[in-house]
């Protein structure tokens, strides 16, 4: 306690400024947070090094569960699917959002509040509800096939979510639908903050719309792009609800993803250790990707 008071803050406090009472304010939140978030994560790491069926005594597994992530095709597939889905969940929404921001950055739009509210709407709907709605659209007699038949492309119609080749892209499109509005809203807000003079200067230098996009809009939106990538990557990797509702990983395991595999292994096939290893690997993947994004796109060094 004495040391604690002596070293506090390093510089002198104003008289009467509170001291150790700070710990008391933090204590309730920290206790709950430690008990129900930090401690379970520690346990997850521990569980990932054992073989356990959830009932009998756990046996040490060494690095078996982690080795399986690289050698077992049933575990490699979900990670491959997740990375492929990131194209739909992250890359496409960001690309579409950028194109639109470029198209819209020149104009003043009336009714922007209305458009922003509508475009952002998919973000606030429960993913369970989104899943139910899209199951309907992608069903054999659903909206998508109806439209295809109506325009004479009936030969392309298929049960999208039950098709071995098309189920994964179909689930991906749902993710694109969820993420695009978020990116658009972010980029439109960001584009408003780019100084008009930069555009005028670019035009005086004879830049066309394409040049203008690459030399003014894109650099000006760097921070927003980093945010959009971070949010969509995290959302894309924590993609349990949509998969559970639309395909449950099927057909076969063509749409299984790590988030689904954790649930499936821990609670359906009683491979708790393996499930924990998938969860920890997913955490590491999220960390690595988000740090990479903030380094690459924002050029920030922490």
């Amino acid at each position: 306690m004495k040391r604690l008071l002596n070293t506090a803050g390093g510089r002198r406090r104003a008289p009467g400024e509170p001291r150790a009472i700070g710990y008391l304010y933090i204590l309730p939140a920290l206790l709950l947070y430690a008990a129900f978030l930090l401690y379970p994560f520690g346990q997850a790491v521990w569980l990932s090094f054992v073989h356990w069926d959830g009932l009998t005594v756990a046996t040490s597994a060494g690095f078996d569960n982690y080795r399986d992530l690289f050698t077992d095709p049933a575990l490699r597939a979900p990670f491959a699917h997740a990375l492929l889905l990131l194209v739909f969940y992250s890359a496409l929404p960001v690309a579409i959002g950028l194109l639109l921001a470029a198209a819209l950055s020149r104009a003043r739009v009336r009714g922007m509040t209305f458009f922003r509210t509508v475009l952002f709407l998919p973000q606030v709907l429960a993913l369970v509800v989104v899943g139910v709605a899209w199951r309907s659209i992608l069903a054999p007699d659903g909206l998508l096939n109806d439209v295809l038949r109506a325009v004479g492309l009936g030969s392309l119609a298929r049960p999208w979510l039950g098709d071995y080749d098309w189920a994964l892209p179909a689930v991906g499109v749902v993710g694109t639908w969820v993420g695009t509005g978020l990116c658009m809203v972010l980029f439109l807000a960001g584009a408003q903050r780019i100084p008009r003079e930069l555009y005028e200067a670019a035009r005086m230098d004879g830049a066309g719309p394409v040049r203008e996009f690459f030399s003014v809009t894109l650099p000006g939106l760097r921070p927003q792009i980093a945010v959009a990538l971070t949010l969509t990557i995290v959302a894309g990797l924590r993609n349990f609800d949509l998969i559970y509702i639309t395909t449950s990983g099927g057909p076969g395991n063509t749409t299984s993803v790590p988030a689904y595999e954790v649930y499936h292994r821990a609670f359906e096939t009683n491979q708790v250790g393996s499930a924990a290893a998938v969860g920890v690997a997913l955490t590491v993947l999220i960390f690595v990707l988000t740090v990479t994004v903030s380094r690459l796109v924002e050029g920030r060094r922490s």
Binding site: I21, Y25, L30, F36, L121, V132, A133, L143, G181
Partner: protein
């Protein structure tokens, strides 16, 4: 200088994407008012008047009345607990200086990126051991802990930005740290607090995985879990399923339309500011 063509293109693009964003939503709404007997699993148009009875059926036959009650209780508890605990902790992180505060703060920030999927497995076995699965506690406690990561982070930004002069003035007037917080800073911070409240509300209301793992009986089911089971049993009954979906989405959408700015600010702000 915007030409008429440019303006038309602008509105055309915005309208197109608005239609794409709204199609699944309107499809569900329209199906919810449709006839229950159609074998169609896709969207349908209400024929022969609006079938309001679908909502009554989902409420009674689908037990959504009970599920909504559970969701309200769990969400209210999580939002209340998160708000009080996050305000207290963020206040200390934001305006007080004490050893270890940075490390402790970063412990909370880590929670923003830890995926729930990694936590849910040990949480289930811990809570089962404590005989808390199939209770409201199994939903409230873990979700409060997860919301605290965002809450502490978000509120600390507010307390950091609140004027030091105000705090010092309050202290000179003889207010202790507790009074300063509740009499001065909390009333001033209503916008920041309401953003945290709506975001926590939405996350908790929409939460599915935690409910799926922790609740096995019918008595404690929340609405998203109810919908998933409902889909398993009545997947052919598109109208009932759609009506149930509307019941789930409606509370969040109503709050969202009213407080759109707060939602967007909170969901984007978690990552914008650092």
């Amino acid at each position: 200088m915007t030409t008429r063509l440019e303006r038309t293109v602008t509105y055309g693009i915005l309208a197109l994407f608005s239609v794409i964003a709204l199609t699944p939503v309107i499809g569900i709404l329209s199906t919810a008012f449709g006839s229950q007997n159609s074998l169609h699993t896709g969207f349908s148009l209400p024929e022969g008047g609006l079938h309001w009875s679908n909502f009554a059926d989902a409420w009674n036959r689908g037990h959504f009345g009970t599920y909504l009650g559970n969701s309200v209780l769990v969400t209210a508890a999580v939002v209340a607990a998160t708000t009080v605990l996050a305000v207290l902790a963020a206040y200390a992180f934001g305006v007080m200086r004490f050893p270890g505060s940075t490390v402790l703060f970063y412990l909370f920030v880590i929670g923003l990126t830890l995926p729930q999927e990694a936590l849910v497995v040990p949480l289930y076995f811990d809570l089962r051991y404590a005989e808390l699965t199939d209770t409201y506690w199994a939903l409230i406690l873990p979700q409060t802990a997860q919301s605290l990561a965002f809450g502490v982070f978000w509120m600390r930004t507010y307390f950091r930005g609140s004027a030091r002069a105000v705090i010092e003035a309050a202290r000179i007037d003889g207010a202790n740290s507790w009074t300063t917080l509740w009499r001065v800073l909390v009333p001033m911070g209503r916008p920041a607090i309401s953003t945290m409240v709506v975001i926590t509300f939405m996350w908790t209301w929409n939460e599915f995985l935690m409910a799926l793992v922790m609740v096995s009986g019918e008595a404690h089911r929340t609405v998203p879990l109810g919908l998933a089971f409902f889909q398993g049993q009545h997947s052919s009954d598109a109208a009932l399923l759609a009506a149930a979906s509307v019941l789930i989405a409606l509370p969040v959408v109503v709050v969202y339309v009213a407080l759109q700015r707060r939602f967007i600010e909170g969901m984007l702000g978690g990552a914008v500011k650092e």
